[in-house]
């Protein structure tokens, strides 16, 4: 396989046109044969290597490798550049006061502006709802008189349990992790989410059992 290219080169150059007219003799000026040095920039004809490496080829390969290597690494670098390491956003995990600060039946909007989370106190305990509309990401409002969450953007409505019942929202609001910290305060992690449609609302951390 390695010596195929070499053979082909010879084949292409070899054929002689049978009907080619003999070239007219050169004029007297060019008749003196000029002694020629053997060419240094080509591999010997019998060289079997596919690379047929010599100085020119090595520089050619090395040059293009360097060029594409540079382009590739700088592209990767530029792409990575677009993903910042540090975000200047509020932390997703936070403490939300003591359980006895909340009244049974209350939907607390205390952390809505800063953390985008509602804390709901039911008879048996707590759950936290992420206040991001599942339609297109607006912030719904809690309407105590209608006992529902209502999104101002496109009119999606959700029950207190976060289940959707009107408007274009395709699924219930998401619940966030809720638990008790060591110091007895409620702890919420917005980055840990529990989706109703995946049957995650019964899971550990989706509900904080509390009586009092």
């Amino acid at each position: 396989m390695a010596d195929q290219p070499t053979n082909e080169v010879v084949k292409i150059e070899a054929p002689v046109k049978p009907d080619a007219a003999p070239k007219p003799a050169q004029t007297q000026i060019a008749s003196q044969p000029v002694p020629r040095k053997p060419k240094q920039d080509r591999a010997p004809e019998e060289d079997p290597g596919i690379w047929r490496m010599n100085r020119r080829n090595a520089l050619w390969v090395g040059g293009w490798l360097a060029f594409f290597g540079f382009i590739l690494t700088s592209t990767v670098g530029a792409l990575r550049y677009m993903f910042p390491r540090v975000l200047f956003e509020p932390p997703t995990k936070f403490k939300a006061g003591f359980p006895f600060d909340y009244v049974v039946g209350e939907v607390s909007e205390k952390y809505k502006d800063e953390k985008r989370v509602w804390i709901v106190r039911e008879k048996d305990g707590f759950y936290a709802i992420v206040s991001i509309c599942t339609h297109l990401g607006c912030t719904p409002r809690w309407l105590p008189s209608d006992n529902k969450f209502k999104c101002p953007c496109h009119g999606s409505g959700f029950y207190k349990s976060a289940i959707n019942f009107e408007g274009p929202a395709p699924r219930p609001l998401e619940r966030a992790y809720i638990g008790l910290a060591d110091d007895g305060q409620i702890e919420i992690d917005r980055s840990v989410k529990f989706l109703y449609e995946k049957g995650e609302w019964g899971k550990q951390g989706s509900f904080l059992a509390y009586k009092g």
């Binding site: 677009m82 993903f83 910042p84 975000l87 200047f88 956003e89 297109l136 990401g137 607006c138 953007c153 980055s191």
Partner: protein, 260 residues
């Protein structure tokens, strides 16, 4: 006396190097005037009669380009007062609208030209469709045109955030939330979670520079709106105009022979 001065001036090297051709009304001289001018040579030297019919072309492509020029100029003018940071953006927009001399004129020209450009691009596309100008040999240019439509919409969308008011922020929140569902690239799209995508490393994160619309988003959209997207659009426009010429100028009725 004045005529003498003028004739003298016309003989100087300065004059002759700027104005290469006389006003002689011959076919050859008129063609030379067009061909030897970098701006005019974008036009064909000869135009088929039907191409000048406004009822045929609606002039929508040209109007779109004119609006792009208006947007470029007014956009640069707005940049003298607008600072793309969350602290100043809204204030600067208000300042432009209330206190800068001719500020409202410049901003409204930019705003209305932007709205109009989306419209004219669509009408241009509609005309090209109706006249069958997307057919061979113009298929390639239709594709370039579709890319230009996308770029126009992206320019429009990215400019929408820059006033940094509630409308802008929530419109862009809604708009970029669609990127969550991008297949393979969004953290809520098909194969997204399987590939380990989270809100803080998917395609939406790149667009926003964060997990939600915030100050980094404003800066990213500003750079995209003022530098990146116009640059790409200009490149595609060059190709677009070039292809119009190379594909035989504006399409015409099939007369069975070349139009010119």
């Amino acid at each position: 006396m004045l005529t003498q001065l003028r004739d003298q001036f016309r003989k100087t090297d300065v004059y002759k190097s700027i104005f290469r051709h006389s006003y002689q009304d011959t076919q050859r001289n008129r063609a030379l005037q067009i061909v030897d001018n970098v701006f005019l040579h974008l036009h064909p030297v000869r135009v088929p009669r039907h191409a000048t019919n406004l009822g045929y072309t609606w002039g929508m492509g040209g109007i779109t380009f004119l609006l792009f020029i208006v947007l470029t100029i007014t956009g640069v003018i707005l940049m003298f007062y607008y600072r793309p940071t969350a602290q100043y953006a809204y204030e600067d927009m208000k300042y432009l609208m209330n206190d800068v001399p001719f500020g409202p004129l410049m901003r409204n020209m930019h705003r209305w030209a932007a709205h109009a450009m989306v419209l004219t691009v669509m009408l241009h596309m509609f005309r090209v469709f109706l006249t069958g100008s997307y057919k061979p040999p113009r298929q390639f240019n239709w594709v370039v045109g579709v890319l230009l439509l996308v770029l126009t919409l992206l320019l429009s969308f990215s400019g929408y955030l820059l006033p940094w008011d509630q409308l802008a922020i929530w419109a862009v929140t809604v708009g970029t939330n669609m990127a969550r569902a991008t297949p393979l690239l969004g953290h809520e799209g098909p194969f997204g979670p399987e590939l380990g995508l989270r809100p803080d490393n998917d395609v939406r994160f790149v667009l926003l520079g964060g997990t939600e619309v915030g100050p980094p988003t404003l800066l990213r959209f500003y750079v995209g709106h003022c530098i990146f997207l116009p640059l790409i659009a200009v490149i595609f426009m060059v190709v677009h105009f070039w292809r119009v010429r190379k594909d035989g100028g504006i399409s015409g009725p099939d007369t069975g022979k070349k139009n010119f």
